[in-house]
C-alpha cells in the first residue's frame, strides 16, 4: 500500500493557555475530499493552518507526500510549500488590494523563480481560463471583481503553484447561493482533472454532503466522529 497524500498524527495547537486543537489525527489520499465539520471555534481553521505549517503545531506530526514537515526549518519548508495551497474564506482579503489579478496569479511563478517572460503570460491566461475567468479580468484589481470571481482568482493563484493538496477554509461561506454552486462545481472539475486532494473546511451540512468523500466532526479541538455521506 502506498503512502497517503497527507498523514496527520496527534496534532496539538495552543494559543496561550487555550488548546485549540487537541491530538487530531487523520489521513487524506490524492483525489479525495475530506471535510472538517464542526461549530465555530472548534479548531477547524487552526487545524488547517497547522497542516499548512503557517502556524507551527506544538506537538504531533504532519506527513505530506511521504515527508515529515514539522521538523523542517522555515527555509527547508519553503520549496515544499507550493505543493499545498490554501484558499481562504474572505475572497477579497486573500488577494493584495494593490495588485492586478494577472500579477497576483503570476506572483507564485515569480516568487518561486519559475517565471519565464516568453510563456509566463500565456500560462497566466491559461490558469484564468481554467478557473472560468475572462482573460480581460486579469487587468482588474480585486475590489473591481465580484466575490465569486475573486475566489476563482484565488484558486487560479493556488493552481499556479502546481499543488497536490488544496486546504479550502470555508471557501464558499462568503458567497451567494448561485455563485456558490459555480465555485463548488469548478472545484469538483479541477479535482477530476488534476487528481488534487482537498481538505475542505465547512460547517454547512448541505455543502459537506455534496462535496465530501469522508467527513470528520470536530468539537472543542477533538475529533468526535467520522462518517461517509454516500
Amino acid at each position: 500500500m502506498t503512502d497517503p497524500l497527507l498523514d496527520v498524527r496527534g496534532l496539538v495547537v495552543r494559543y496561550g493557555p487555550v488548546t485549540a486543537v487537541d491530538h487530531v489525527s487523520f489521513t487524506l489520499d490524492a483525489g479525495e475530499t475530506l471535510a472538517l465539520d464542526g461549530p465555530s471555534g472548534c479548531g477547524k481553521s487552526s487545524t488547517a493552518l497547522a497542516v499548512l505549517q503557517l502556524r507551527r503545531p506544538h506537538a504531533g506530526r504532519v506527513r505530506f507526500e511521504g515527508r515529515e514537515l514539522t521538523s523542517l526549518t522555515d527555509r527547508e519548508l519553503r520549496p515544499l510549500r507550493p505543493r499545498m495551497q490554501p484558499v481562504f474564506q474572505d475572497p477579497y482579503g486573500s488577494l493584495s488590494p494593490r495588485h492586478r489579478i494577472r500579477d497576483a496569479v503570476a506572483e507564485p511563478l515569480k516568487a518561486q523563480g519559475r517565471w519565464n517572460a516568453d510563456d509566463g503570460p500565456a500560462r497566466v491566461a491559461e490558469l484564468l481560463e481554467k478557473v472560468g475567468l475572462d482573460p480581460s479580468s486579469g487587468d482588474r484589481r480585486p475590489h473591481e471583481l465580484s466575490g465569486g470571481q475573486c475566489q476563482r482568482a484565488g484558486i487560479a493563484r493556488a493552481l499556479a503553484c502546481e499543488p497536490r493538496l488544496l486546504v479550502l477554509d470555508e471557501p464558499v461561506s462568503a458567497l451567494d447561493a448561485s455563485v456558490r454552486a459555480g465555485v463548488l462545481n469548478l472545484l469538483a472539475d479541477l479535482q477530476d482533472e488534476l487528481g488534487l486532494g482537498y481538505l475542505f473546511i465547512c460547517h454547512d451540512r448541505a455543502v459537506v454532503r455534496h462535496v465530501a468523500d469522508r467527513v470528520i466532526e470536530m468539537r472543542e479541538g477533538r475529533i468526535t466522529s467520522e462518517w461517509r455521506p454516500r
Binding site: 519553503r78 490554501p86 482579503g93 493584495s96 494593490r98 518561486q112
Partner: protein, 594 residues
C-alpha cells in the same frame, strides 16, 4: 510587573537624555577653559598655566565618567553646580527663572483656556459645526511669530503695552497672549472637532428622549470628549515649555527658557544643564499630570480603547486655497531667487519698498525679497532633508512598535527648541544641528502611523497567502509590506513639511540654526527686530511669509483630510491607509512641532 519593550526604551531614552545633559561639558569638545577665563577676568593672559588651573577647577580633566558621576551626585543633593561665567550657584538662578516661567505659563494657559472656550462655545450652542479655519490657523502659528507681530503692533505702533521686562501685570499680557493663542487654538480645535460626532452618538438621542436637559447632555458630552484628548493636552503643555523659550526671548522676560538660551550662547554649561533639566522636568511633570487626570476622568477599570472618539468630520478646504497660497509663496521665492541676497548697499539702508527693491532693504541695504527667496530655498531644502530622515526613522521604527513607543514618549516630551539648545551646546549652532534637532523629535507620529499600517498588513490574509506560496521573507517585505506602508507614510511626511520648516525657522530665530549672513527666514525675522520701528516692512516680509507657510500647512492638510474622507466614503474600496488621521495629526503637528 514585567518590563515591556516600551517601558525599557522609555527608561533608556530618559537615561540617554539625562546623560547627554550631564555630559554636556565633555561632549561639547571645545575647550571651555578659555571662555571661562575670559569671563572671569578679561585682563588675565590665557597662559597654559592659567587655563590648566581653570580646567582643574571645573573638574574637566577627570574624564567623562567621573564628570557624569559628580553631576548626578550633586543633582541628588540638590546641587546643580556653579556657573562658569558668574561663579555663583546655579540653583537660585534656575529657581527664580522657573518661578517666572511658571507664572507666564499659568497666564498663557489662562489665555489658552479662554480662547478654547470661545472656540467651543458656538459648537456647543449650535450642536454642530467645527472650530473652523481660525482655530486651525491659530494652532499653526508659531509662538515666535505671534510674539514678534504682537510686539510690533501692540507694543511699538500702538504703544499700549510694555514690550520688555517683567515688572508688573501689564508686562504679562503680550507674552501670555503670544504663548497662549497657539495652545488655545489647538485645545479649542481638538474639543470642537470631536464634539459634533459625539453629539450624534446613540446615547444622546436616548438621553434627550428620556427628557434630560440640554445642559446635562452637553456636560455629559464634554465629559465624554475630554479623557481621550488628555494626552494631546499633555502635548500642548510640552509645546508651552518650548514656546516659552522664544516668547521669553522676544519680550526679555527673565524666565527659565531665556536663561537656557542665554547660557547656551555664552557657553555657561552648568547653568545650561540646570535650566534644561528644569524644562525637561516641567515637560515630564505635566505629562504625568495629564496621565493622572485622564485616569481620574476614566476610572481605573476602563481600558483606553474602550473610549476612543468617533472620527471627527473633516473640515473641507477648497483646493484653491492651498494652491493660491503655494502660488504666492512660489512666485515671491522664485523672484527672490533671481536676485543677490548678499549684495550690501549702504546707500539704501532700510529703504521702503520700491521698484528696485520690491520689499525694501534691511539694515545693511540688502534686498529683502532676495533674502526671502534664497532663505526659502535653504529652509525648504533643509526641511525636506529632515522630512526624509524622519520618514526613514519612522518607517524603520514602525516595524518595532514596542520599542518605538517608549522612545516616542521621550521624543514627544522634548520640544524641538530644547533639543536645539542641547545640540547647539554640543556641536555649536548651525543649520545641520538645527536639522538634527528637529529630526530627533519629528519622527514619532510617522512611526506610529507606520506601525499601525504594518500591523494591519501583517494581519491580512493575503500575507498568509504569500507565505503559503513559498515566498521568502525578503520578497514579502519588499513586494507587499513596504509598498503598502511607505506610500501613505510618505504622504503624511509631506504634509508635515511646512510644520518642520516652521520649527527650523524658530530655531533660526533663536540663533540656534543657520548663522548670519545666511538668509534663513527665522533669522531674517530676528535681525529685523532691531530696527522694527524704522523699517517695519523688513520685519513684515518674513512674518507674512511665515504666516503664509502656516496657512499652507493648515489648508493643505485640511484639503488632504477632506479628500481622504471622500475616498473612504466610496463603498467597495478597502482603503488601507487612514488619510484623515494623518492629516489631522499633521495639523496638530504644526502647532506642537514649533
Amino acid at each position: 510587573m514585567r518590563p515591556t519593550a516600551a517601558g525599557v526604551t522609555r527608561a533608556l531614552g530618559l537615561v540617554a537624555v539625562l546623560a547627554v545633559v550631564g555630559l554636556l561639558p565633555w561632549l561639547s569638545g571645545r575647550d571651555p577653559a578659555l571662555t571661562v577665563l575670559r569671563a572671569r577676568s578679561a585682563e588675565q593672559e590665557p597662559t597654559e598655566e592659567a587655563l590648566h588651573a581653570v580646567r582643574r577647577d571645573l573638574g574637566l580633566d577627570a574624564g567623562p565618567l567621573s564628570l557624569l558621576g559628580d553631576w548626578a551626585f550633586g543633582l541628588l543633593r540638590g546641587d546643580l553646580g556653579t556657573s562658569w561665567v558668574s561663579g555663583t550657584d546655579v540653583m537660585p538662578s534656575v529657581a527664580s527663572g522657573l518661578q517666572v516661567s511658571l507664572g507666564l505659563m499659568a497666564a498663557a494657559l489662562g489665555v489658552a483656556v479662554l480662547l478654547a472656550v470661545a472656540l467651543v462655545a458656538p459648537v456647543v450652542v449650535r450642536g454642530r459645526g467645527s472650530a473652523g479655519a481660525f482655530a486651525a490657523m491659530a494652532a499653526a502659528l508659531p509662538e515666535f511669530l505671534l510674539a514678534t507681530v504682537g510686539l510690533l503692533v501692540c507694543g511699538v505702533w500702538l504703544g499700549w503695552l510694555p514690550t520688555s521686562g517683567w515688572q508688573g501685570p501689564e508686562h504679562l499680557v503680550l507674552p501670555a497672549v503670544a504663548l497662549g493663542v497657539p495652545a488655545g487654538g489647538l485645545l479649542g480645535r481638538l474639543v470642537a472637532d470631536a464634539l459634533p460626532a459625539v453629539l450624534e452618538e446613540r446615547w444622546v438621542e436616548l438621553w434627550r428622549g428620556a427628557g434630560a436637559s440640554r445642559a446635562r447632555v452637553t456636560a455629559a458630552a464634554l465629559r465624554r470628549v475630554l479623557p481621550p484628548l488628555v494626552p494631546q493636552f499633555g502635548m500642548v503643555a510640552v509645546g508651552l515649555t518650548g514656546g516659552a523659550v522664544a516668547v521669553e526671548t522676544v519680550f526679555a522676560v527673565p524666565g527659565i527658557g531665556r536663561t537656557a538660551l542665554g547660557a547656551a550662547r555664552s557657553q555657561d554649561l552648568p547653568l545650561l544643564q540646570g535650566a534644561v533639566l528644569a524644562l525637561l522636568a516641567l515637560g515630564l511633570v505635566t505629562g504625568a499630570l495629564a496621565a493622572l487626570v485622564r485616569r481620574r476622568l476614566l476610572g481605573p477599570a476602563l481600558r483606553d480603547a474602550g473610549l476612543a472618539l468617533p472620527p471627527p468630520r473633516p473640515v473641507r478646504a477648497h483646493p484653491a486655497v492651498p494652491a493660491a497660497l503655494a502660488v504666492v509663496l512660489l512666485a515671491a521665492i522664485g523672484w527672490g531667487l533671481l536676485r543677490d541676497p548678499y549684495a550690501v548697499d549702504t546707500a539704501v539702508r532700510l529703504a521702503p519698498p520700491s521698484w528696485a527693491n520690491p520689499l525694501g532693504t534691511d539694515g545693511l541695504g540688502r534686498d529683502v525679497l532676495a533674502r526671502l527667496g534664497h532663505g526659502a530655498a535653504s529652509t525648504v531644502g533643509t526641511a525636506t532633508a529632515v522630512c526624509l530622515l524622519s520618514l526613514a526613522v519612522g518607517l524603520a521604527l514602525g516595524f518595532l512598535p514596542g520599542a518605538a513607543a517608549g522612545a516616542a514618549d521621550i521624543a514627544n516630551a522634548l520640544p524641538p527648541v530644547i533639543v536645539g539648545i542641547l545640540v547647539a551646546a554640543v556641536a555649536g549652532p548651525g543649520t545641520g544641528g538645527a536639522a538634527l534637532a528637529v529630526a530627533l523629535v519629528s519622527w514619532p507620529p510617522l512611526a506610529a502611523h507606520a506601525a499601525a499600517l504594518v500591523q494591519e498588513v501583517r494581519a491580512s490574509a493575503f500575507l498568509t497567502a504569500q507565505r503559503a506560496i513559498g515566498a521568502s521573507p525578503l520578497w514579502i517585505l519588499t513586494r507587499h509590506v513596504l509598498p503598502s506602508v511607505a506610500a501613505p507614510v510618505a504622504r503624511h511626511a509631506l504634509l508635515r513639511l511646512p510644520g518642520i520648516a516652521l520649527a527650523l525657522a524658530s530655531l533660526g530665530f533663536l540663533g540656534l540654526g543657520a548663522q548670519p549672513p545666511a538668509p534663513e527666514w527665522g533669522l531674517l525675522l530676528d535681525e529685523s527686530r532691531a530696527y522694527v520701528e524704522r523699517a517695519p516692512w523688513a520685519a513684515l516680509a518674513p512674518a507674512v511669509a511665515l504666516a503664509l507657510l502656516a496657512g499652507l500647512a493648515v489648508s493643505g492638510a485640511a484639503y488632504a483630510q477632506g479628500r481622504g474622507a471622500r475616498r473612504a466614503g466610496r463603498p467597495p474600496r478597502r482603503t488601507v491607509p487612514a488619510p484623515r488621521k494623518e492629516a489631522a495629526d499633521a495639523v496638530r503637528g504644526t502647532a506642537v512641532g514649533v
